[in-house]
Symmetry: C2
């Protein structure tokens, strides 16, 4: 690949040439789910987007260590994180469960959903509770370096010191410490322990009835929820690594505080490039459960929601997500999903048709055109992972593929090498990079496989019936198939079928 | 359920009445896989057996907290665990991977395999690396209680003290400390640090190049591999809980050392009942990779092994495992698997036939017989989870079900209530307790669902062809279906089909 990858760095607000810290290797950390409830669709979008990025980096030949954490402790309710009740422990008490039992239930559910969306497992999936020792050591380092102070068994990060030293607290989110001051007027419990309103807890003394608790030098307590990502990214990727990703909503306070912690403990910001996915909207508005303007991933798949006319296959949903750039808002509407379903099918049909084409010549008139389009598709990906534009390039070739299949363009227009390149390009984009699966081919159950053979038989019988002018049988076949969920289409090449 | 559950307790060598420590609740800990390589088939047997036990306890109405750990650090090579190289770190160095990357790869693979075998996720699946703090605290407790001593940064458990106090080191495995003395003549590194040969490491100082390492009061090191189970079972189930399970091969040294650690740290043995699964043999001999007498779970499913004539569906393999009692050796042979395949199909066919039966009477002559057999099947399960005998009871009813279906026994022989009980019993055993899935019904893909409708059409066309004496069409249908993997069977009720 001659082209160079450029990525938009949220830290600088610019597209920058991507240059890994160690040639050939990439360390990438993405903030994972909090496992105290079912994963949200917006989170799914973030993880599918980063899965696509990860797949593209692998496609480029990088050895990527992709770390995505599981937050199974310490994610606190409220705009500021101090003193608010720990969500995990709250749910556990309500359900009369051990917190780790809740975490296990939703971790399994999360993995199931990620599997439906065909995301690759990250290289490492560290758990917050699995790194308490590392977090305690990081708190100690922060205190030792003068950036943390202890109040009644809890430990707070001193943001004012960072600002006074010109080390930029607020740079990523573009907030000024004066604004932060005025924003945090809440009278939450323990608020008074802070020396400055924008300070945040890095170790929290547990209430007597708090279920998740560990011994530490300061109190029996639990880590502040920003701390885990600093501790785990440092452990598995080092003090300074290539890419840190997450949803837009994590910029502040989470990522800002992560940076503060890393500077406090390791004297440097964790990542070279910060990448953030944008929001998922529904019908043009922010999803909100309380307003009724929301849908779960499961509802979207089953169709069990009044917001959509039918259920959508996870691959259609993934295609829908890829149709939008990761830095753009993605508006989920029934119309857009139905359109994505058609687009997905059109792409898959074209790919199958492409694979059926046989070249008859060494070179052809269309070769240069095909090569330009392939080159352009990769150029779009190299421009900050522009999946919608890369997809558009593939769709530019689809009419040609269909014309070749139908004989409207003769096969002597496409040389063998160009055809092979085109097949490889479609395969790489559809399966390796976009992470899609062909529903018509992926039915892995024995039943789905048998269907192909049985349909060959049915199409044969129908052909014979039509040749015999036995319209009764021919009609019966069409109607029964429709009832079974199979549609027959006639073309020059003979009849074809598809699942409705 | 009037009957009482009895379980064989490895600690006492007797079948005992099962009485949970807290009425209605059960805490169960099972030693899970070490994730530095693909899961062995023998381990799969253990986990499927305990999954079946777990399912039966749930069926009895207990609220079960089932903890099965993931050993992602500290499992050491060799007969004794001191000084031998840490398997995880070794593999990681060979593959040039971060140890947790290896652990993640094989954890994902293990979960995939457990899903194929339709095992339920445990309630909690704690990782050894996720509980270093708890393990360090347990080592400290053991030292404080006088059962541990420090040598050059490593910490050892003092087994002699336990024996001298009459606290029974060796009780579970039936070994005497004098035997242990003569067994451990190896000149392994650090062996000399032990005060007594049967002592074992609970914290090990890491070599300079050892990848997995944590700070501790004694050294930068890692926990001895027996320690994790003591620390995690205590954390999630308390100092004393109901059931501790594992493979037979773990009795010594692993479980013996676990008991020692718990006595040392908590002054009591961890579990009331110890349950151990027996070995999986192949062709009558112990599986051994070096002898070529071994097969992986994947090979067993794909058929990619010269030891078997074909691949077997995971549900057939699960059925095969259930056909044997968990305390018996299970001999894997091609003949036994082929027989299991037939048996599984016969059971599933019978269950589908049973569900199709409609009662025509309030009570019938067979009712008492049916009720006795149901009762007997549960009695077998209550006799130390005797799955093969319970299965045999179900098979006693199968000929009756088939006769009822074929009209050889009239439906007025079975009352509505008895029929409902029988349907419920079959459903409970097959799906809830044995954890089997009906292949013919479980094809969840759209393609598999469409096949049913299309096959109705094909059977209709075949019927018409036969009525018209159009043997050419009729034969063509039979042959094409066979090629597609579908077999047609004619019965009094009309033609039926099944996937070959």
């Amino acid at each position: 690949m001659e082209q160079s990858l450029h990525v938009y760095n949220s830290m600088t607000g610019k597209k920058e040439l991507f240059e890994p810290l160690t040639a050939g290797f990439i360390g990438m950390y993405v903030c994972g789910p909090t496992v105290y409830s079912d994963v949200h669709l917006g989170n799914c979008r973030t993880f599918v987007n980063f899965d696509t990025l990860y797949r593209y980096l692998l496609h480029l030949g990088y050895k990527v260590r992709y770390v995505r954490n599981i937050t199974d402790v310490g994610h606190l309710v409220g705009d500021v994180d101090t003193g608010a009740e720990d969500k995990m422990a709250k749910k556990a008490r309500l359900e009369q469960l051990e917190p780790m039992e809740v975490a296990q239930k939703y971790t399994v559910g999360f993995h199931d959903m990620m599997r439906l969306f065909n995301t690759k497992s990250p290289s490492i999936e560290p758990r917050a509770t699995g790194h308490i020792l590392e977090q305690i050591e990081m708190v100690q380092d922060i205190i030792d370096n003068g950036y943390g102070y202890v109040k009644n068994g809890s430990v707070y990060f001193n943001t004012r010191k960072l600002v006074e030293e010109g080390k930029g607290y607020g740079d990523l989110s573009g907030r000024k410490i004066e604004d932060l001051l005025s924003e945090t007027r809440s009278d939450l419990k323990n608020q008074s322990e802070k020396e400055h309103p924008s300070d945040f807890a890095i170790w929290i003394k547990a209430d007597e009835n708090h279920l998740m608790r560990w011994n530490s030098p300061w109190s029996v307590g639990f880590p502040g929820w920003h701390l885990e990502c600093s501790a785990m990214s440092t452990k598995y990727l080092g003090k300074h690594f290539d890419i840190h990703g997450g949803g837009n909503d994590l910029k502040f306070p989470h990522h800002e505080n992560e940076i503060a912690q890393n500077i406090g403990a390791c004297s440097c910001a964790p990542a070279k490039y910060w990448l953030h996915t944008n929001m998922l909207l529904m019908n043009g508005k922010k999803m909100s459960k309380s307003d009724g303007n929301s849908i779960t991933p499961t509802e979207l798949i089953t169709g069990d929601s009044h917001h959509i006319s039918k259920g959508f296959h996870p691959m259609v949903i993934r295609f829908f997500m890829i149709q939008s750039h990761y830095r753009s808002t993605l508006d989920l509407t029934d119309e857009a999903l139905l359109a994505a379903e058609k687009g997905f099918k059109r792409l898959m049909d074209a790919n199958r048709a492409l694979n059926g084409l046989q070249s008859t010549t060494e070179s052809g008139a269309l070769d240069a055109d095909i090569r330009d389009t392939i080159q352009a598709a990769f150029a779009e990906m190299n421009d900050d992972f522009n999946t919608p534009k890369a997809l558009a390039r593939l769709f530019e070739i689809v009419p040609k593929i269909n014309s070749l299949k139908e004989g409207k363009i003769k096969m002597d227009q496409v040389g063998a090498a160009a055809l092979a390149d085109l097949k490889a390009c479609f395969h790489a984009f559809i399966f390796d990079i976009f992470g899609l699966e062909d529903q018509a081919e992926s039915g892995s159950s024995t039943g789905a496989k048998a269907l192909g053979g049985v349909m060959d038989l049915v199409i044969d019988i129908r052909k014979q019936a039509r040749a015999d002018k036995d319209w009764a049988t021919s009609d019966k076949i069409r109607d029964s198939l429709k009832e079974a969920g199979v549609q027959i289409k006639d073309s020059k090449e003979g009849a074809e079928w598809e699942l409705i």
